[in-house]
Symmetry: C2
Subunit: 332 residues, 2 copies
DNA sequence: TTGAAAGCGCTAACAT
DNA sequence: ATGTTAGCGCTTTCAA
């Protein structure tokens, strides 16, 4: 039998409330009693039952995490940083993969709310926001990471996507490229990246040619297909900005397969700075998101929210950094 | 206020036990009452509180997952497959990163046991096994995936590591390679891979040269260092078997940097068939683990164990498959 | 400084 | 077919 607070009390020859006080360091107990209780806990290898404690209004020390897909290296790194910080603060993380699918998002949300979790971190797209709104109204602490929902007042941590897109585009521009194409993922975070691309091109008084903007999903295969399409164009681009590393990896594959050299014939820039960016060949020039900091920050915001529901929400935009590697070169 | 079984009962004008019966479809209730209750649940948007239910001896529907590092693509894929199957069966997954560190393993185990989880899946190394033994004795369902502890009687799902190692080595042998080196990770699962390597070499009556066996950790950087070491040898290997894709990616980097062509000068074989194996250039020949099946199987074993503690444990060895890509070639 | 007792939301045995 | 009731392990007044 698992030891309970009763068995500990019995073993120590005190009442259960005394044991509870010792555990939580509340009330006042004599040094002697405290020692007895600790001994009993050790002897029985007692661990308080969090479920029972949470029934009495305490917290569960569990945080729900909704990601599109943990096997996507970017989200794996996000998850890691979140779990690290959570553990430091004594929280466990419940992992949910939504595939950005509205049905799954809904299912998980209901699953999580019946699990009495203390808060939710969302990295999933949530194209339908009413569900989140509902939880927000109920006062369940929620925070967003690497995804934004502008119309909702909600704690958010993202990289500055606009700045990232601008960084990537203007770097290609500075290299002398004029025919630059972009492959974006069809999610909210990519909108500012595309916008920055447009702005940078306009500032440089350069046109975005027909068919130079491709919207697709975050898969290597999709990047591959997009690149084949772009590189088959009459006027093919000399540089491609792929809005995440997965897409960029596909672009590199396609370009090589079609006989183009990287970076001599085509420059490629990615986004995220995942492991992939160091295993492609040439290694990928990419926009780095400060994932460690983002994960830590989002948990800090969430736990702050759990303590006292703040009247205002915070929106953190961390700065991206361009990692120049070998997939980009000056136009000859 | 969160609705409780009481509020539902009141709303529906019945007793709480009737509501409970409706929820669990037990006892007998009239169609009419059932409908009333469902309506009330919907109206209040009621979700049963799992914590409270679990207090009464029911299950928590939570599975703990211990992986070394979720940001390692292999474990990310393992985690994904585990979560998928868990969700199908109505379980949530609590994610824990141990870094194969004994301290963290211990901490998480104690954290998980006080969380009243229904079972634990372990992919972490657990060099010290007494902790697991303790849980096993307590009757907590545990299952291992992609890691083995031969001396413990415990449900286990792994790829046939010996066969995988044999597959890789004999493929290189069949290509005419004679000077083959190996880089292994210093964990249990790699022991049979190394053993198979030795056996295959012996059967081919080929020696394993001095310094041709390198033991290290699963990091790109370590693979890189290992390869630099190997390729600097007087008698350098013509083929390198890296016991996971991360190491193999490092090997490819080092080889290229030193001016060797792959596969012309050096053949490289990896293990795991993660995303990385398709983003390296050339793409990596590697031993594929059937991750989807492994994840599903381990959850099936675990849930079976949760229902009735079987007197015997199962050990599943799934077959690996060699994925031949472009990093290997016949010796000229 | 300590202990008794009420109840958190729920299930299940037992009554009706 | 439906309701009453006794806890599950714990926290937290309140009383001693």
């Amino acid at each position: 039998m698992k030891p309970t607070i009763h068995s500990v009390a019995q073993e120590a020859g005190v009442s259960i409330s005394t044991v509870s006080k010792v555990i939580h360091n509340t009330g006042s107990i004599s040094e002697q009693t405290r020692k007895k209780v600790f001994q009993a806990m050790n002897k029985l290898n007692y661990h308080p039952d969090v479920a029972a404690a949470s029934l009495r209004g305490k917290k569960t020390k569990v945080i729900g995490l909704l990601v599109p897909d943990i096997s996507n290296p970017f989200y794996a790194e996000v998850a890691r940083s979140i779990e690290d910080r959570s553990r430091e603060l004594g929280f466990n993380v419940m992992m949910c993969n939504t595939d950005n699918d509205a049905e799954k998002e809904k299912e998980y949300l209901s699953l999580l709310t019946s699990q009495r979790i203390d808060g939710i971190v969302v990295a999933s797209a949530f194209r339908s926001t009413d569900l989140l709104e509902g939880l927000l109204e109920k006062g369940i602490p929620i925070a967003l990471i690497a995804s934004e929902i502008p119309k909702l007042s909600i704690d958010t941590v993202t990289v500055d996507d606009y700045q990232g897109g601008y960084l990537a585009t203007s770097y290609l521009l500075s290299l002398g490229h004029k025919r630059i194409a972009i492959i974006v993922e069809n999610v909210r975070s990519n909108i500012p990246r595309l916008e920055a691309f447009r702005d940078a091109m306009e500032e440089a008084e350069l046109p975005i040619l027909d068919g130079y903007i491709i919207k697709t999903e975050a898969m290597i295969q999709k990047g591959y297909e997009g690149a084949r399409q772009l590189l088959s164009l009459q006027e093919r681009p000399t540089a491609i900005f792929a809005c995440n590393d997965l897409l960029a990896a596909g672009v590199i594959q396609a370009a090589k397969e079609m006989g183009f050299n990287i970076p001599e014939d085509v420059s490629v820039v990615g986004f995220d700075n995942t492991v992939l960016s160091t295993t492609t060949s040439p290694m990928l020039t990419t926009v780095a998101q400060p994932v460690k900091e983002m994960g830590a920050k989002v948990i800090d915001l969430l736990t702050k929210e759990m303590q006292t529901s703040k009247p205002y929400k915070e929106r953190l935009l961390l700065s991206p950094e361009l990692m120049v590697r070998q997939s980009t070169a000056a136009l000859p």
